[in-house]
């Protein structure tokens, strides 16, 4: 009886989603054809694998790692060394399989280092990963034969026998290699969430103590997840080595680890697809935002701050919450509030942005004159008008934004109560 109501056309939806994902991977470089786009798309694929592998720890296992770059980075190094060995004719494996070398390296180091880190959970785990990351980074500066010192290790991906005419000379060929790996890795990582170990990992995240009393060794669960995560991280690293053809010590650095954490969180650690969004944003921020303004890290920090405070579930949770509202046909009731929020936020950000840009200009570029261009307007850093104007715009925006936010909060909670009622009604009707 109950089974009839539970019927969902599960598999159809799943096929559609995965086909769409494959289609996007295949079609993206045909839509965005210029060089920069293809470069960015390739980096996005790599970042997607890296962030998803990170989320296996953070979102699914509750393990806050500060050292994920160790596994991507060492994967990169081993892959580039393997590539050079292939170039020199010492090693005979197809270039297409070099990311697997990276993956096995990541896995190997996860087996080694994870043995220590996953003994503990929570804060202790976080601290140990930080320590391990610092250790590896320090070693990267000590062993310059392997890590290449300041210059790093470079290679040439046009090596070995061409495979059906694929040489990996042109960027587009590398893109499709990355796309193929991305698809397979994402599918495998999703599949992992649907296995006994994947589910027990969620249980360990939620309540490690209880897991011990249903027959599972939580250390073992964390350790295994860590190893699997390390494997996928290493694949991302190996792909990065092929993509850039150079690996420098920063790939194992704290900044890189921090970026994985930050963008996985931004994208949304509580949903499987969240880190995919995060990874795409990461590349957009690193490549485009950093071109646009010198203050990009500051903006990034602000966005992160706001997300942690107001939407700790990341962008994915925002999407899912609004999907829920839409499914109950209530999106109409709130779009005006959204519009209000958006417009006032833009006003506020314009004011704040103008001031930030002026400060940066004064600090870094004052030799280039007193004026700075910002969103089509010319601001003079030495004129009080510009400062007062910006401050005025920002404060007005802030005030209006707060009003809009309150209105939004009212509308939102009203809608949520309505939805709860509707759910109750449907439940009793069943």
């Amino acid at each position: 009886m109950a089974a009839v109501y539970k019927f969902k056309p599960y598999n159809v939806g799943r096929w559609v989603i995965w086909s769409l994902f494959a289609l996007v991977l295949v079609a993206s470089p045909l839509v965005f054809t210029n060089n920069l786009s293809v470069t960015m798309l390739a980096q996005m694929g790599i970042a997607i694998i890296a962030c998803l592998s990170y989320n296996m720890l953070l979102g699914q296992g509750g393990m806050l790692s500060f050292g994920h770059a160790v596994y991507t980075g060492l994967g990169s190094y081993m892959a580039i060394h393997a590539l050079n060995a292939v170039s020199a004719g010492q090693l005979n494996i197809p270039v297409s399989l070099l990311p697997i070398v990276g993956g096995l390296t990541g896995m190997g180091f996860a087996i080694l280092l994870g043995w220590v880190t996953t003994r503990k959970s929570g804060t202790t785990f976080a601290m140990i990963t930080l320590g391990v990351a610092e250790l590896v980074f320090a070693m990267s500066l000590m062993f310059s034969e392997f890590f290449g010192g300041e210059a790093g290790v470079s290679g040439n991906r046009v090596a070995g026998q061409p495979f059906f005419g694929i040489t990996y000379g042109p960027q587009i060929q590398v893109y499709y290699l990355i796309a193929a790996y991305t698809f397979v890795c994402v599918a495998l990582m999703y599949a992992f969430t649907q296995t006994p170990l994947g589910r027990i990992l969620n249980a360990v995240r939620d309540n490690p103590e209880r897991v011990e009393f249903i027959g599972y060794n939580t250390q073992r669960v964390r350790y295994m997840a860590f190893i699997i995560s390390g494997f996928f991280a290493g694949i991302a690293g190996g792909l990065a080595a092929l993509n850039f053809e150079i690996v420098t010590a920063e790939v194992v650095g704290a900044a890189r680890s921090g970026a994985y954490l930050l963008f996985t969180f931004l994208g949304g650690a509580t949903f499987f697809f969240g880190p995919i969004i995060g990874a795409i944003l990461m590349i957009i921020a690193f490549v485009l935002l950093s071109e646009l303004t010198k203050a990009w890290l500051l903006y990034l920090g602000l966005v992160f701050l706001f997300m942690v405070m107001y939407a700790p579930g990341g962008i994915a949770s925002l999407i899912m919450m609004n999907l829920r509202v839409a499914m109950f046909g209530k999106l109409r009731q709130i779009w005006a509030s959204y519009l209000g929020l958006g417009v006032t936020a833009i006003v506020m950000l314009a004011g704040a942005g103008a001031m930030i840009e002026m400060v940066y200009h004064l600090q870094l570029n004052s030799a280039l004159g007193d004026t700075v261009k910002f969103m089509g307007a010319t601001l003079n850093t030495k004129s009080l008008d510009s400062w007062f104007g910006s401050a005025f715009v920002m404060l007005t925006g802030l005030g209006l934004f707060e009003l809009a936010r309150r209105q939004f909060a009212r509308d939102w909670s009203e809608i949520q109560t309505d939805i709860e009622k509707e759910i109750k009604r449907r439940e009793t009707a069943l």
């Binding site: 109950a2 589910r199 027990i200 309540n207 209880r210 249903i214 027959g215 699997i228």
Partner: protein
Amino acid sequence: MSYALELQDVRKNFGKTEIIRGVNLAVNAGERVAVIGPNGAGKSTLFNLISGRFGPTSGEILLNGQAIQNKTPYEINRMGLSRSFQITNIFPKLSVFENLRCAVLWSLGYKYSFFKFLSGLKDANERTDELLDMIHLDKKRDVLAVNLTYAEQRALEIGVTIAGGSDVILLDEPTAGMSKSETSRFIQLIKDVTVGKTLLTVEHDMGVVFGLADKIAVVVYGEVIAFDTPEAVRANAKVQEAYLGSPVADSQVGGH
């Protein structure tokens, strides 16, 4: 023929304080034992020792004749002992179904498998659905555990405890915080789901204790001062003096 659960001179110190002071207890397979005693007597500590949450300072604990006092909780669980907690201890962000399925997995031999899909584990899914019916949460199948009512969470706690099919079940104050009517329904649930199993339960409500238990173990100040049938315990002079004789307990027993 060994006992389902046997404690031999079990002692536990926290620092210099002796909390459990030489407990001896032998429970036959299939017996229902209620552990009673005043607050702070060491009932929960006793459960923690048996289930491996921490090891005893000295003494032996035998599960079906095998020593378990130095084993970890998961090892003890795999040997057929499962426990619930006084404060609800489930997986808040997993659905009711997932909570139960997680608790089923090990006993069906899936261990740390990551080459099989959960949806394909027919036996695990059937067993989980069976459990859902047993604890009357079949209508809440896909609700996150955190969104259940208190009584439902307590039922899920029992469900997670019995899911692995352990022979020896320890329930730590299963009815704590429930109303009278909820309690009586809940006791029936506990009876139903533990048929044929060895049951130890900490319980404060004397009405419940005398209705549920084949035997009662009275713990006072870290010692079992009596372990006998309900009638014999009620008549026991030492128990009356130490525990049942107190005005509070009197009213509880009187109410029965």
